[in-house]
């Protein structure tokens, strides 16, 4: 399978969609302003929810996005071609369903099998020509990304094969094949005298009654008994057998054509869906540009440091008219920092700060630009969020108390989290006695740190401060004007 989202698609395993992550960070609300098609944004969020774990993968996606975004007409033409390719794929899928409906006991089954050959030959021919089309389109532009180069090379490998034209010619022949005039089959018996092969041969190549090409001049008037092959008439009493065998033989060709087409679609069709991601990504960049929002692609730090300059919260940016209405903050997290706790009054910008960092991390690990002036990030094996949710979230079908629910969510995170992950916690364990919540949370954070899982916590549980020993956490607090210091 060719992918424009993953350099190594086989290594990428899609994880269960973490819809809570998108929800907690209000990414759904942010991108609703960029794309109104829910199906498309759903796909986009599913990609975002599985952060890339390799620098090369992030670069791979970033380069493709730049090519598609910056090369005029490339994305439009590529999408248009792919739309037609997808239509062919859809047609092929529906034709496949019809193929299964052949009634083999029916005499018209031969004709149906012949029709299937024609249909499948046309589909295969078109699919092959699309490969040629992709290759020609990408050759027209100056492509820099290795992802699109790789895509072009894959097409070229097929298109420039010396048998490519021959395969298209064969499809052309089957496209006009008729089962109405003449049919011929080779019959081979096995060692038990049973039918080992009953395969279709081109009736035009079979000349059982003398070779006419040789019958020129004088020989035209001479009976060519010596050229005549001995034949024996067949009594067609077993008509069902002949119909079935012929239908089988013709269906073998139809199925082979279909099998080849399937391989083309399996290889190339996923890209059509993947283009949705790039469509939204391009619109995202356009929106940032139109709103004059400063943005950049984050650099990948090799030593585990995180350094962000003038980071603004995406959701606020999408809701405000000017980017300058949104306060920016900086963040520095050295490789030694195991976790950060942010304290501050209500409404002082703690959660917005947390959200902006988490959103930035998620977008960066999806190969997308972020709303900061400068950014250097570290790659995490996964990203988790636990946000204290409104009481209403706990009403329907949930018999657990709020604290228990939080504990359950944390237990779920602990069950699934991998070393090297990043966890964002927003007012976790505040639904119980604070001292107890703080103590419970402290040991949980300590557990994360022991496993090399880094965390950022926004909290009112000030008691936790006394529990940390040196180097266990960096304490930040809010300052007037939504600043974090």
């Amino acid at each position: 399978m060719i992918s424009l989202l993953y350099n190594n698609p086989s290594a990428h395993r899609s994880t269960e969609k973490q819809s809570r992550l998108i929800y907690h960070l209000s990414i759904d609300r942010s991108f609703a302003k960029i794309c109104s098609d829910i199906n498309k944004t759903d796909y986009f969020f599913s990609v975002l929810s599985s952060p890339l774990k390799e620098k090369e993968e992030i670069e791979f996606r970033k380069e493709i996005l730049c090519d598609l975004n910056e090369t005029e007409n490339l994305f439009t033409e590529f999408c248009s071609l792919y739309r037609h390719f997808n239509e062919l794929h859809e047609f092929h899928k529906s034709a496949k369903k019809n193929n299964y409906r052949i009634n083999f006991s029916n005499e018209s089954s031969i004709k149906e099998a012949g029709n299937n050959i024609q249909t499948n030959a046309i589909t295969l021919k078109k699919a092959l020509l699309f490969i040629k089309g992709f290759c020609e389109l990408l050759s027209k532009y100056e492509i820099r990304s290795c992802g699109l180069q790789k895509f072009k090379e894959e097409c070229k490998k097929i298109y420039e094969n010396e048998n490519f034209d021959r395969l298209i010619k064969l499809c052309g022949k089957y496209e006009y094949m008729s089962t109405m005039t003449a049919l011929a089959f080779r019959l081979v018996l096995d060692e038990n005298g049973r039918m080992d092969e009953y395969s279709f041969i081109d009736p035009n190549k079979l000349n059982l009654f003398g070779n006419e090409e040789k019958q020129k001049g004088f020989f035209r008037f001479k009976k060519t008994e010596e050229n005549k092959i001995k034949t024996e008439p067949l009594n067609p009493i077993e008509r069902d057998f002949y119909n079935n065998a012929a239908t089988d033989a013709l269906s073998d060709i139809a199925k082979t054509l279909e099998y080849i087409s399937n391989q083309i679609f399996e290889k190339f069709s996923e890209v059509y869906t993947e283009l949705t991601f790039y469509e939204i990504a391009i619109n995202y960049i356009k929106t940032l540009k139109n709103k004059s929002i400063p943005y950049c692609f984050a650099d990948i730090s090799e030593n585990g440091e995180i350094k962000i300059k003038e980071l603004r919260d995406l959701y606020l940016l999408m809701t405000k008219n000017s980017p300058f209405d949104v306060v920016s903050n900086d963040l520095e997290m050295s490789d030694k920092t195991k976790g950060i706790v942010v304290f501050g009054n209500n409404g002082s910008g703690k959660t917005v700060f947390l959200r902006s960092i988490a959103t930035m991390q998620l977008l960066s690990q999806a190969g997308l630009p972020v709303t900061a002036k400068e950014a250097e990030i570290s790659i995490f094996s996964d990203i988790f969020t636990q946000f204290s949710e409104a009481e209403k979230e706990f009403c329907e079908g949930n018999d657990a108390g709020r604290f228990e629910q939080e504990v359950r969510e944390m237990a779920d995170i602990v069950e699934n989290i991998k070393d090297g992950s990043l966890v964002f916690l927003n007012e976790t364990f505040q639904s119980t006695a604070y001292a107890e919540g703080a103590e419970g949370l402290y040991y949980l954070l300590k557990y994360f740190s022991e496993r090399g899982i880094r965390w950022i916590l926004v909290s009112h549980l000030t008691q936790i401060k006394d529990l940390f020993s040196d180097g266990e956490a960096v304490i930040l607090k809010t300052a007037p004007g939504y600043k974090i210091i």
Binding site: K157, I158, N161, E162, N163, F164, R166, L167, L170, T181, A182, L183, A184, F185, R186, L187, V188, L189, D190, E191, N192, G193, R194, M195, D196, E197, Y198, S199, F200, I201, D202, P203, K205, L206, L208, I229, K230, T231, E232, P233, L234, N235, P236, I237, E238, F241, Y242, A245, A246, D248, A249, D252, I253, T256, L257, Y259, I260, Q263
Partner: protein
């Protein structure tokens, strides 16, 4: 004319009843075909020959030869049946050639089994006669010719253009081959061709016969020469070899479970003595650590009662004695460290039947069966097994009937083992075996059977306790129930 020698011979006059195999669970371990063979005790001479053959099978190379021989014979049987069921004339020629080739393979392997014991030596001598060898060569030569002729008729083309005709093959490639080859060259993968192999319809078969008259006539004349070939002469060996291999596999299976086996000494005085003997039927229940027991029945003490605790291994012991006896009587190894056994002529069992009878009905049925058994065993060297016979009546009557039948068995000088809960048998003038328990370890069952008068208890409370139905458990339940009610 010499008759075909057999691997299994028996002049048994009274078969062991099929029911006995069910009673002792032997039919859970071996196939019905082998049960059938084991039903016929074969006599001293045959026992020795079969024992020799089992010894031969211990040699892995010889075992492989026997296994190969069986495979060849089974393949011959398959092809012989396929030829008999051929649907068309052409199919019949192809299959006849295959069957004759298989016949040749069988002849060759049977004649080569010279070093697989006396039983096979007689067979190989029979199949090594000069007439048979020259016939084998002749068939081989003719089958080469047949193969060439069949190759000529095996490929053809069928054309549906105006009229439907069949013609000899041409060098035109099939479209599927052309397409597949081209697609593969471009880099696509294609699935393997599906195997259909349907029968040829009669119309094509008839047309092929007409299309190739000279080849067909030649085939006919070749096969005509072998119309009298006796395929069945080989095929009789299949179940016989299968029996030996099946028993041998059972022995190996037991060996893997740590169970020893031996070939008992066939003695001329009437006795059944075996050391460390196993109930192999427990293998069918996947039991581990099967406890072996000794067996001793002699002319002086041919009959024993077996009493003891429930779940102490009484029935298992009966099976131990019975199964190993049956195996011995057909020349098979038995599951014991060592043994000396007299080749009894007859053996049978009397087990309670599963069906529900009312009190008198059940007793009548048991009496009838017991009477028949004693009558059949009369004037024969017989070994009889009784399991809880006459337990379907009151104790006094049951005991009277038991005594009565024992006297008859004694009078007939039959050997026997009688498992019973009537502890009064200890007062009779017969030896008594009992299932041993370890009283110092909460009446733990040892599964050891020893000659002793035992104690007059079946330790039923242990079983009840296990299922929470003993006195204390029931009182506890009542107490708990009271508490919950209050």
């Amino acid at each position: 004319m010499k008759t075909t020698p057999l691997l299994l011979k028996s002049d048994c006059k009274t078969e062991i009843p099929r029911q006995m195999f069910t009673d002792i669970n032997l039919d859970k371990l071996i196939s019905e075909a082998s049960v059938k063979i084991l039903q016929s005790p074969c006599g001293k001479d045959e026992i020795l020959l079969r024992q020799e053959f089992f010894t031969v099978l211990n040699n892995s190379e010889k075992y492989a030869s026997v296994e190969k021989c069986l495979k060849i014979l089974i393949e011959e049987e398959r092809l012989f049946k396929a030829w008999n069921n051929a649907e068309t004339e052409t199919e019949s020629y192809f299959l006849r050639k295959q069957a004759l080739e298989a016949y040749v393979r069988s002849e060759k392997i049977l004649s080569a089994m010279t070093d697989c014991g006396k039983l096979f030596f007689d067979i190989s001598t029979y199949f090594s006669s000069p007439e048979r060898i020259s016939k084998v060569f002749e068939i081989e030569e003719d089958m080469k010719k047949a193969e060439d002729l069949l190759r000529q008729i095996s490929k053809s083309v069928i054309s549906f253009s105006g009229q439907t005709v069949i013609a000899p093959d041409t060098d035109i490639r099939s479209e599927i081959d052309i397409l597949s080859e081209t697609a593969k060259k471009v880099g696509f993968f294609l699935p393997e061709k599906k195997e259909l192999k349907p029968h040829l319809p009669k119309s094509i078969s008839n047309a092929l016969v007409n299309l190739y008259p000279s080849q067909i006539n030649e085939l006919k004349s070749i096969f005509e020469k072998y119309s009298e070939t006796k395929f069945k002469e080989h095929l009789i060996y299949i179940p016989q070899i299968q029996f030996f291999l099946e028993i041998f596999e059972l022995v190996k299976k037991a060996e893997r479970n740590g169970i020893t086996h031996c070939l008992p000494t066939v003695c001329s005085e009437r006795k059944y003595i075996a050391k460390e003997t196993y109930d192999i039927a427990l293998l069918a229940k996947n039991c581990k650590n099967i406890i072996p027991n000794d067996i001793e029945f002699t002319e002086q003490e041919p009959f024993c009662f077996l009493i003891g605790a429930n779940g102490g291994g009484k029935t298992s012991y009966l099976r131990t004695v019975a199964i190993n006896l049956i195996l011995f009587l057909s020349g098979c190894p038995i599951f014991a460290k060592e043994a000396e056994i007299f080749p009894f002529e007859f053996a049978t069992t009397h087990f309670p039947k599963d069906e529900r009878f009312d009190e008198s009905g059940r007793l009548d049925e048991e009496l009838k069966r017991a009477g028949e058994i004693v009558k059949t065993a009369e004037n024969k060297d017989s070994f009889l097994f009784f399991n809880e016979t006459f337990s379907g009546t009151d104790e006094k009557r049951g005991l009277d009937l038991l005594e009565e039948i024992c006297e008859k068995i004694n009078k007939n000088r039959n050997f026997g083992l009688y498992v019973t809960h009537f502890h009064q048998v200890t007062q009779f003038d017969f030896p008594v075996l009992s299932a041993q328990i370890d009283e110092s370890d909460e009446n733990k069952r040892t599964y050891k059977i020893k000659k002793s008068k035992g104690t007059a208890s079946s330790y039923a409370s242990d079983i009840l306790k296990k299922y929470g139905l003993d006195k204390n458990s029931l009182l506890e339940r009542i107490k708990n129930n009271d508490k919950s009610t209050i």
